[in-house]
């Protein structure tokens, strides 16, 4: 009751001088965002200047190699133009060396907002095993209402000299995954991070239903089924995913509807395919929506 009344009110009748400055509740600035993490950025200690120079020189070697490769490819000018139907091109292969360095694992415990745990490691079958425990218990601080998630995401795709780039998957229309799950449903996230702050959190989602059991399962999901959401909210203005602007790929799992407990998703590979029989561009209706109602 008190917290309800206090909401939006400013601090204290006893402190009239600071009354105008201090808010007792979090301020939501809806106009612009300072950084991509929306306040969840963890400040890491900066290494010394000497260390920075050493690291920079070490990285320079690798970056030059990468750059040389890019230039060579550019000069060769031999892009793949024909994508044969029915052939899967593997993008994220867990059999490749150093594959775990390409992924970031996060959970709600990272910022003290929950108690879920998650790890990504190689299983005995040689595949990537994303496993852990999702837990919807949290500290009742009156701000966070629901927790319990774990997430893996690839690192931002980049060119040489740490320049950010995007995947170009426009030639394909299917996402192929060889997975072995535990009966839970997982969320597939395709991030299409844009330039402006409004587009930083654009993620296209779809569900990966896993059969469970000891057998591997090949999931084939058309890109047309993916829908846009931002910060976990499905957007009113929808559209097909811009496949030339995909920046990250990931999976999420949540403890929703009492599904607290261990989870395990074994991923062999994630690939792409062109299926000429699939002509759908976007699976959801594009109604003419009423003015001043949508996206408000």
């Amino acid at each position: 009751m008190n917290s309800l009344l206090r909401h939006g009110h400013r601090l204290g009748c006893c402190l009239p001088a600071v009354q105008q400055q201090i808010h007792t509740t979090a301020v939501h600035r809806t106009f612009w965002e300072r950084e991509k993490k929306s306040g969840y950025k963890t400040k890491l200690p900066e290494p010394s200047k000497k260390q920075l120079i050493i690291d920079g020189l070490r990285d320079l070697k690798e970056e030059m190699k990468l750059w040389r490769k890019e230039v060579r490819e550019q000069l060769k000018s031999d892009p793949i133009l024909v994508f044969r139907p029915g052939e899967t091109d593997v993008v994220f292969d867990f059999k490749a060396p150093d594959v775990l360095d390409k992924w970031t694992v996060t959970s709600d415990a990272d910022h003290g907002e929950g108690k879920s745990t998650a790890t990504l490691e190689l299983s005995s079958a040689g595949a990537g095993l994303f496993h852990g425990d999702v837990n919807s218990d949290h500290t009742k601080d009156g701000i966070i209402k629901r927790t319990g998630y774990a997430n893996i995401r690839t690192k931002r795709v980049r060119k040489s000299f740490k320049r950010e780039s995007t995947y170009d998957w426009t030639q394909y229309n299917m996402l192929i995954m060889k997975v072995r799950g535990d009966g839970r449903s997982y969320l597939i996230n395709l991030h299409t991070e844009g330039y402006f702050d409004l587009m930083w959190n654009d993620i296209y989602h779809y569900v990966l239903y896993t059969r469970g059991g000891p057998h591997w399962q090949i999931a084939k999901i058309p890109f047309s089924k993916f829908f846009l959401s931002s910060k976990g909210r499905v957007q009113d203005r929808q559209g097909a995913i811009p496949l030339n602007r995909v920046t990250h790929f990931g999976f999420s799992v949540a403890a929703k509807k009492g599904m607290d407990g261990p989870f395990g998703l074994e991923i062999d590979y994630v690939g792409l395919e062109y299926d000429p029989s699939h002509r759908e561009e976007f699976a959801y209706e594009m109604y003419q929506t009423p003015k001043y109602i949508v996206a408000t």
Partner: protein, 413 residues
């Protein structure tokens, strides 16, 4: 000018972030005033001397009989208490919070009863500015939170609810927008799963085990689910049931399995059916690397034109790769051949032993001639007597007993 102001406002309340900000909204704690006192971070904000009494008595926390009827009666009492229905927002928040205690969190009728508490017609904006500035924001946010709770529990609203919301907030109301979004997306996702399950899932352990086995056996359509009773065997210690899934193809693989190579009973692994977790065990053989490499098409790169062999010089004419070879079964995976799956009522070693003997008795003679080894990922009791005094692995479990599983290593060995 007016248009420009409107334009600015629209920018300010941009959908993406305005929606996101609704995630973080106030929670009410009328239920326990004591906790409320402690949680107040700023005691100076209160006037000294006043007791921190709750403004609204929460009838839900004090209720003795926690059923749907009591719940609806309390909503009725609140409605009929006086004509003004003071504090109805707080009442709805308290009601939402206590839904799970009454077991009504998945009941559409209850949500409708709560919306019905709101006065009709009073909150409908009458001019443009009211419509634009979220007329009666606390009330609108309250109903948005109610709809959000429905969404979380997977309760789909119906058209009567739309009519009720229209009567309360009018066409411009934010709860209506939320409702329309829900009615657009929820039916699309409701039956999306390729393995549909009853909602709620049955409480019976045997039924759950059958559902789990059926789901896992969809990989091979010829699979048959059999329910055995260990009482069929003479000297079984555990008197329980065993649900076993096996297909004719697996039976064939088992017949052809070398008598010298061991089979493994592995587990307990788990599968989730909604919020229930079922333990299962597999009967597995090591993969046959010779057979698999013979099938492996990756060894022959058909695109590689640098080594085209000339068939005329000193070699047999090329045969089409694997033209008359054996086909690979779906059960022959790279990391092992799955021969059968089972779930037992007690998940003990004895019940698994009974499973093997029952398989042998039911048409799989060869299993008696092959060594069968247990390979467990966590501790499995030998027989059912131990399970009564704090078992480590019961057959099924809901989320509450998850702490018992901490010892389990999730690697599939």
């Amino acid at each position: 000018m007016l248009r420009r102001v409107q334009c600015l406002l629209r920018l300010h309340s941009n959908g993406r972030q305005a929606l996101a900000s609704r995630l973080r909204c106030y929670s009410t704690d009328e239920g326990n005033p004591k906790q409320n006192q402690n949680s107040n971070p700023n005691p100076r904000a209160q006037k000294p001397g006043t007791k921190n009494l709750p403004a609204v008595r929460n009838p839900f926390a004090a209720a003795q009989d926690r059923t749907k009827d009591t719940y609806l009666t309390m909503v009725d009492i609140f409605q009929e208490r006086d004509v003004h229905r003071r504090n109805h927002v707080e009442f709805i928040y308290a009601a939402l919070k206590n839904m799970a205690d009454f077991g009504v969190e998945r009941d559409l009728e209850v949500y409708k009863a709560l919306i019905n508490v709101m006065p009709k017609g009073k909150f409908i904006p009458t001019n443009l500015f009211q419509a634009e500035f979220m007329h009666y924001p606390k009330q609108q946010q309250c109903i948005i939170d109610l709809l959000e709770q429905m969404e979380d529990f997977g309760v789909m609203p119906d058209h009567e609810m739309e009519a009720m919301l229209l009567n309360v907030f009018g066409r411009q109301g934010h709860p209506l927008r939320k409702y329309w979004r829900m009615m657009y997306w929820m039916p699309k996702f409701k039956n999306l799963s390729p393995w549909p399950l009853p909602d709620p899932v049955p409480d019976d352990t045997l039924e759950m085990a059958k559902l789990a086995l059926e789901r896992m056996c969809t990989v091979d359509l010829r699979s048959k689910i059999t329910v055995f009773e260990t009482s069929e065997l003479k000297d079984a210690i555990d008197q329980t049931w065993i649900v076993s899934g096996m297909s004719p193809e697996q039976e064939k693989l088992l017949r052809e399995h070398s008598r010298q190579k061991a089979l493994y009973i592995e587990g307990p692994f788990h599968i989730w059916l909604r919020n229930r977790r079922i333990n299962y065990f597999t009967l597995r053989a090591d993969p046959d690397p010779q057979f698999l490499s013979q099938l492996d098409e990756r060894q022959l790169d058909e695109d590689d034109v640098s080594h085209i062999e000339v068939p005329f010089f000193g070699r047999a004419p090329p045969r089409r790769h694997n033209q008359v070879g054996k086909l690979r079964s779906v059960h022959q995976q790279d990391d092992g051949t799955i021969l059968a799956i089972c779930a037992t009522g007690t998940s003990t070693k004895d019940s698994l032993l009974s499973w093997i003997r029952l398989l042998e008795a039911n048409g799989n003679r060869s299993i008696g001639e092959v060594p069968v080894l247990f390979r467990f990922t966590s501790e499995v009791p030998a027989k059912a007597q131990e399970i009564e005094g704090g078992a480590s692995v019961p057959a099924t479990s809901d989320n509450r007993s998850s702490s018992q599983y901490e010892q389990q290593s999730s690697k599939r060995e």
